[in-house]
């Protein structure tokens, strides 16, 4: 693995200062920074071969289409999916879940049917299902969590019934960092013939994801959270599901034949890709995945594990600081509170020290409600962060405490 100085040199933004202080970027759960190769790739699309995909007869269109389909193949191999037809590009995790919630609802859901989510979901994996349930008269069931911030598997098993149509859970909690026991969740659902969607927004960037090994029916993620461009996401679905589901958007390129009487749809995956896709971002995502593979996913995971361990130790040592989320299996995300200081005050002052964290509910209000709090400060780390930066955070928090004392 490259050493940390080399890794950091790959990300131009990490050199910048904010308020005259070196940037300490601990908001990777919200979005990750981009390595130079991704920036160059997107730049190159616009500079030298931009042309709309799948529809031109000309050189540029061919070149763009080829690069776009190359990106699809890259995602397929990154996820270890069987076929490129199983990889659909979308606008992001939110777009993917909304799409599946709509199509799945249209195809399979009747009044009284149930969808199971967990208490750890962010709003993107709650609201689309709620909207679908309202439309179809279906019901959401929620897997509860324990004080450590882990889902309670026994309760999950009780929720699974002959009314369950789908289970949709996150790979890791964005608010607490908890990694879910996906194998157990998926196997239990499959034992009663229920498909499972895994929301990989906080999982894809932290280690190896193998959709075949985990046997998930759907897997979704956002490009911008794995060092790729914004505005691109992935919806992986097993072919048997994607061929049965109706499209969630209509438009150009997703059709086979259009008359005003009836339209027949294009084959997979194009059936789900209506209109002009964000192909420059898809091509940029491909470059980001190459970068991650070059660094090495095991190495990323082990580096982040070290950072998490060190940060947990440093922050736990601070008096009056309480960490939420105490699972043994966590991504490198730490959510915390300091007694008698509002998270917004902490975030504002850390910002002035150049330290970027997120404050508030992290779009996961049910998690905050569980703990009876109205928000936390969240430091979400990734492999380009350093032990020194964690030291700066710890010192920053001490400074904050002295300012508000």
């Amino acid at each position: 693995m490259k050493d940390i100085a080399e890794i950091r040199a790959d990300f131009p933004i990490l050199k910048r200062k904010v308020y005259g202080k070196p940037l300490v970027y601990f908001d990777n759960g919200a979005t990750t920074q981009k390595p130079q190769c991704v920036i160059d790739t997107v730049d190159e699309v616009y500079k030298s071969y931009n042309g709309n995909i799948h529809r031109g007869v000309h050189f540029l269109s061919d070149m763009s289409s080829e690069a776009y389909e190359g990106a699809r193949e890259k995602v397929r191999s990154f996820l270890n999916a069987d076929k490129r037809e199983e990889v659909v590009f979308t606008s992001g995790t939110t777009g993917s879940i909304n799409g599946i919630a709509f199509s799945f609802g249209e195809r399979y859901i009747k009044p009284g049917d149930e969808i199971i989510l967990s208490r750890l979901e962010h709003h993107a994996n709650i609201v689309p299902w709620q909207m679908m349930c309202e439309r179809k008269g279906a019901v959401l069931r929620v897997i509860p969590i324990n004080d450590k911030g882990e889902i309670i598997l026994e309760e999950y098993h009780k929720l699974l019934s002959n009314k369950t149509r789908l289970v949709s859970v996150t790979q890791a909690s964005n608010a607490l960092g908890t990694v879910l026991p996906l194998k157990e969740v998926i196997d239990a659902a499959h034992s009663v013939n229920v498909p499972v969607l895994i929301d990989g927004a906080q999982g894809i960037q932290h280690g190896i994801v193998d959709v075949k090994a985990m046997d998930s029916d759907f897997y979704v993620f956002s490009g911008h959270k794995i060092y790729g461009p914004n505005g691109i996401g992935v919806l992986y679905g097993k072919e048997k599901w994607l061929s049965e589901l109706p499209p969630f958007q209509g438009g150009g390129d997703m059709v086979d034949k259009v008359t005003f009487e009836k339209t027949t749809y294009n084959e997979l995956p194009f059936k789900f890709e209506a209109g002009t896709m964000n192909y420059p971002a898809a091509i940029g995502l491909s470059s980001a995945l190459d970068y991650v593979l070059k660094i090495g996913r095991e190495d990323i995971a082990s580096r982040e594990k070290e950072l998490l361990k060190y940060a947990t130790g440093r922050l736990s040592a601070i008096k009056d600081l309480k960490i939420f989320g105490a699972s043994d299996r966590k991504i490198s995300t730490i959510s915390f509170h300091i007694k008698d200081i509002h998270q917004y005050d902490i975030g504002m002052i850390l910002d002035k020290m150049g330290i970027a964290v997120r404050t508030g509910t992290h779009c996961a209000q049910p998690v905050m409600d569980y703990y009876g709090i109205d928000g936390t400060v969240r430091a979400s780390l990734c492999f380009y962060n350093t032990i020194e930066e964690i030291g700066l955070l710890a010192e920053g928090i001490e400074k904050v405490k002295s300012m508000f004392a």
Binding site: Y19, I341, H342, Q343, Y344, D345, M348, I349, K352, M353, T359, G360, D374, G375, M403, F404
Partner: protein
């Protein structure tokens, strides 16, 4: 003091500090000093809900002047509220409605506390002006 004089005083006070940390220390001090609001007004009716911190704002109109009291669960937000109260409290509705709050820009709060930060600064100003309009309408 007129609204302009109070604003100029605030601008001068903040101009003593170059460093953002010092400016925020001042806001924190202002927040700590803010006169307490009557607890009976810390209810939903007087809540201005921002995404990040809660602000309660209560107006009292004696027929001539409006007196505001307020509170927030975050101290920096209390500091901002304290500044707005210094400028706009104990003024006539007409003065409040007409007030041009240039001090927010001048002390650099606007770019640091933009609406996307959901700090409620703009909602607070809007709410104070709305109260002034409502009392004005009632008076006529």
């Amino acid at each position: 003091m007129t609204i302009t004089e109070v604003q100029d005083n605030i601008i001068e006070e903040f101009s003593l500090f170059d460093d953002w940390m010092d400016k925020y220390s001042l806001l924190i001090d202002l927040g700590k000093e803010l006169a307490v609001i009557d607890p009976k007004y810390k209810v939903k009716d007087f809540l201005i809900e921002g995404c990040q911190s809660k602000v309660w704002l209560h107006p009292e109109f004696d027929g001539k002047l409006i007196t505001f009291t307020a509170d927030s669960d975050a101290i920096i937000t209390r500091g901002i509220v304290a500044l707005l109260i210094k400028v706009l409290s104990s003024r006539s509705p007409d003065e409040i409605i007409a007030a041009d709050l240039y001090f927010i820009d001048k002390i650099g709060l606007r770019q640091n506390l933009s609406p996307t930060r959901s700090n409620g600064l703009l909602s607070m100003v809007r709410q104070m002006k709305l109260y002034a309009m409502a009392f004005n309408a009632k008076n006529k």
